[in-house]
């Protein structure tokens, strides 16, 4: 008998009698102002949030404030490699519009600009589906995520209800920059992934 | 109202004043107290060590002495919890089943059955309240810090009725003292450390007495206090509620 059949047979004979599937919780937290809650949580997990007026607002803020303060804060003097999966960012970033290349070539990306499908107020998580290159939101030094204000939901149950079973090859909830507290519980941002996360909430 | 008093073995042997105070307190509250002579032990020392199968004799002895009483009250949350969860008998199955819900820990009996709202007691000292785990988490005498639920405390409610008592707030409100039955000798190092840490919390807040609804934990902390030659003493809650200094 194959290991598969052996395991399945052992499990089938060991499992308890049927037990009904419970309903998902109905009384779930909602917020008067989900964007305010989202912002509060994003900052609490080490991220930044700027509310802007559409894509134009994003571009304007990146050009006039973000890059400058990033350079200052992280003492960056070299030319920045900025990439984006958004056609709209053409004038501001190198575009990645196809997944047909070696992900290792992204190892020197400083800033990645991507769009999130939705955000969740209770924990500031943003759903980022695979767009061209899976490793991009992890390998970049700094990550910028765009989300529409109307796509910010209250809680995780709403997020999964909206997404359904999707048909994405890969997707990730991202909440804040990469971090660790493995050394004596001291929080350090920038473990292996991005050192910072900036979220633009677009009206 | 008639109540049968169950005095745990170690209380009978080492802390008779706790049983006396329980008896007198119940009598002062107008209850007729019966002490069935010949009672011994709830069986927990064996059961918690993995020898529940050796507790048959204790169970039979308990059933023999307590069958038929509407209320059985004991000044020890741990023993009460054990009886509620594990009292059983092959010979006297029905009696065992009938007894289980009739067993009450002293403070829950006072607040829930007698519904005591005031007491004559006075105890002009700074007191730290130890939440014994089996009473708190097992019998739910007080809300537990782990849960997202409204706070309450049955022993705390009673202590608040005592005149001139000053209750101290602890850093860790419901950490275990490390007694744990045979754990206290089988895991000597951890047990002692837990006892020391628990006592230190009370001492940090200047408690003159450590009280609680379970004498076994208090016995453990007393051992630690005495070794450190501390002036702080342990006192069972029944003794405070029955006090009239």
């Amino acid at each position: 008998m194959s290991s598969r059949d052996q395991i399945l047979r052992a499990v089938a004979s060991a499992q308890p009698g049927n037990h009904p599937m419970p309903h998902l919780p109905t009384q779930v937290v909602t917020y008067e102002d989900p964007i305010a809650k989202f912002t509060e949580m994003a900052i609490a997990v080490g991220g930044g949030v700027i509310r802007v007026n559409g894509l134009e607002g994003v571009k304007e803020h990146i050009e006039e404030h973000y890059i400058l303060s990033l350079r200052n804060k992280w003492h960056i003097t070299h030319p920045l490699r900025v990439v984006s999966t958004l056609q709209e960012m053409e004038a501001h970033a190198e575009l990645l519009l196809s997944g047909d290349f070696d992900p290792h070539t992204l190892q020197d990306v400083d800033i990645a600009i991507m769009k999130a499908d939705l955000g969740v107020a209770e924990n500031s998580a943003l759903w980022v589906p695979e767009t061209q290159v899976r490793v991009l939101p992890f390998i970049c030094q700094h990550l910028i995520l765009l989300v529409e204000a109307r796509d910010i939901l209250h809680n995780m149950h709403e997020a999964y209800a909206l997404m359904g079973n999707g048909d994405q090859n890969f997707g990730v909830f991202i909440a804040g920059p990469s971090k660790t507290a493995d050394i004596e519980q001291s929080l350090v941002l920038g473990a292996h992934g991005p050192r910072s996360l900036m979220v633009y909430v677009m009206d | 109202m008639e109540v049968a008093l169950f005095v745990p073995c170690y209380v009978d042997q080492f802390y008779p004043q706790v049983a006396q105070a329980s008896l007198e307190l119940l009598e002062r509250l107008g209850v007729r107290v019966v002490y069935p002579e010949g009672q011994t032990c709830c069986g927990q020392p064996m059961a918690n060590s993995g020898y529940e199968h050796l507790t048959g004799g204790c169970n039979e002895n308990f059933i023999r002495h307590f069958d038929g009483y509407e209320y059985i009250v004991s000044p020890s949350g741990s023993c009460v919890l054990h009886l509620k969860e594990h009292l059983s008998s092959d010979k006297n199955k029905q009696q065992a089943v009938a007894i289980r819900p009739r067993i009450y820990e002293l403070t829950e009996f006072l607040t829930d059955v007698l519904q005591v709202e005031e007491l004559e007691a006075r105890f002009p000292y700074k007191v730290g309240m130890h939440q014994s785990c089996h009473g708190q988490r097992g019998l739910k005498l007080s809300q537990m810090s782990e849960l997202t639920a409204p706070m309450f405390s049955k022993p705390g409610k009673l202590l608040h009725m005592v005149k001139d008592i000053e209750l101290v707030t602890l850093d860790r409100g419901d950490e275990c003292c490390g007694f744990g039955g045979t754990f206290c000798v089988a895991e000597e190092a951890v047990s002692v450390k837990m006892g020391k840490d628990r006592v230190a919390d009370h001492l940090r807040h200047d408690a003159e007495y450590i009280t609680g609804a379970d004498m076994s934990c208090l016995m453990h902390m007393e051992g630690v206090l005495k070794r450190a030659k501390s002036k702080t003493k342990v006192i069972h809650i029944a003794e405070i509620l029955n006090s009239s200094i």
């Binding site: 009904p20 | 918690n48 840490d197």
Partner: protein
């Protein structure tokens, strides 16, 4: 005994030789527990969420064989290769074979307690395959040649100075450097190079969804993603109990996991792997290794609900004062003490006794496993199976006989309260473990029974 014993009590005794360190360990973990409290007490639905999660897991365990087949079918349809391993040895063989087939002798691995359970690293090392653990805490214990002492915080037992020494020796940091910022940055650079140069990555699995065949991996560091997305072969090892029926259930479990674990509202990354990248191979190894046996044990099957948050360790007053290594098993603390005896009753017979049964573990458990009740039940099983000390059994028999008989009890009391055989602290001398750190109770003049009898007599007279 010291240094050679594998019993929890002895290892804990060694740990307690340095009291200041015990205090530090206890406070560090208590800090995590208080963070957990802050994160959970703010959510009104917390207790109902735990209840739902527990019920979902109950339902899943009741239909596990069906869900496993559904998951397999979906995963294969997604282009993932599914393997089945009945035990640790088979798991290790499968992983090794996959690597050898591709001519790979170096692999990067993100956190997987299952591979610790299977001793995969040692197995591969013996066959010339180097594994680098990429979770910072795991990398640290790997450099120290130790086991993780905690499932979520693998090096919580180590001080930053000790980590600094390790990094100085292995990664070339300045001697004496112990700043967590600098040490973490060093590990970032070192592991970035590893991620970029490994063709194979192994990850654990936090949740696997039967209806979609996808698996979810949660990390704060992003190490699982860095490894998996840069590799040409991704192997995911998972215990068969990690399944959940529906994708919507992730909403429940992701809300519970990190709030319980570290007090965070969610991990930084909750990655949903469904299909391999273009040109990449994705493998899932489904491992039993005793899980079906535990499923058959009615008293202990609830332990398979565990989602490995570590909350029971952080709250356990014994764990905090004995350290994870005192449990001498990959999964330490209260939950480990229920899981380990399932694998080997003889080797782990001590663990269910390493608890005061205070019950705090059951209260923090996000899937409401009745941990302390299962510890109690394991004690009964282990005694019945003969895995406990014969002297203890003899003492217990004598104690039971004394306490069963009112006459013997009375006599034992009369003979001297201090030498009552059934109370654990028998004699007031240095050999008695009670007396080592505590004083004895002072014996009263009369027992309550004697006092009551004399009072009754007076009343009658």
């Amino acid at each position: 005994m010291r240094g050679t014993s594998k019993r929890h009590a002895d290892l804990a005794d060694v740990f307690n030789a340095d009291e200041a360190r015990v205090d530090w360990h206890d406070e560090t973990l208590w800090f995590v527990r208080t963070k957990r409290d802050r994160a959970t007490h703010g959510l009104e639905e917390w207790e109902s969420l735990r209840e739902v999660a527990s019920e979902v897991k109950h339902h899943t365990l009741a239909n596990l064989s069906t869900y496993l087949e559904e998951f397999e079918q979906q995963a294969i349809a997604n282009g993932v290769q599914v393997h089945w391993a009945t035990d640790a040895a088979e798991h290790n063989e499968i992983v090794c074979h996959l690597l050898q087939k591709h001519g790979i002798d170096r692999m990067v691995k993100s956190k997987s307690m299952l591979t610790e359970e299977c001793h995969l690293n040692d197995y591969l090392a013996d066959r010339g395959i180097e594994v680098i653990d990429s979770d910072l805490g795991e990398r640290i214990v790997q450099l120290a040649k130790e086991m993780p002492s905690h499932i979520v915080l693998p090096c919580i037992h180590k001080k930053k100075e000790e980590i600094g020494d390790l990094f100085h020796e292995h990664l070339g940091t300045e001697a004496g450097e112990s700043d967590p910022q600098i040490l973490t940055e060093t590990a970032r650079q070192h592991l970035r190079d590893t991620f970029l140069t490994r063709r194979a990555a192994l990850t654990g699995v936090n949740f696997a969804v039967a209806e979609t065949g996808e698996m979810v991996v949660c990390t704060n560091e992003g190490n699982a993603d860095m490894g998996a997305h840069l590799s040409s072969i991704h192997i995911a090892s998972m215990g068969i109990e990690k399944l959940i029926p529906k994708r919507a259930h992730l909403g429940v479990f992701l809300r519970l996991l990190t709030r319980s674990a570290t007090g965070q509202p969610i991990t930084t990354y909750s990655s949903h792997f469904k299909r391999p990248r273009e040109g990449q191979e994705m493998h899932i190894v489904l491992v039993d290794n005793g899980r079906s046996r535990q499923l058959a044990r009615e008293d202990f099957r609830n332990s398979l609900k565990c989602i490995r948050c570590g909350a029971c360790m952080n709250t356990c007053p014994v764990y905090r004062r004995s350290g994870g290594h005192s449990y001498h098993y990959a999964i330490s603390g209260p939950i480990g003490s229920i899981l380990a005896p399932n694998l080997d009753m003889k080797d782990f017979a001590d663990l269910p006794f390493a608890s005061t049964l205070c019950g705090s573990c059951s209260n923090v458990c996000p899937v409401k496993i009745d941990i302390h009740n299962q510890l109690y039940k394991w004690r009964q099983e282990l005694v019945k199976a003969g895995y406990t000390d014969k002297k203890k059994t003899a003492a217990m028999k004598l104690m039971a006989a004394t306490l069963s008989s009112p006459a013997k009890f009375k006599l034992a009391g009369k003979l001297g309260r201090l030498t009552l055989r059934y109370i654990p602290f028998a004699v007031n001398n240095g050999l008695n473990p009670w007396y080592k750190g505590r004083e004895m109770p002072s014996p009263p003049k009369q027992s309550f029974g004697e006092w009551y009898a004399s009072r009754k007599k007076e009343g009658e007279g």
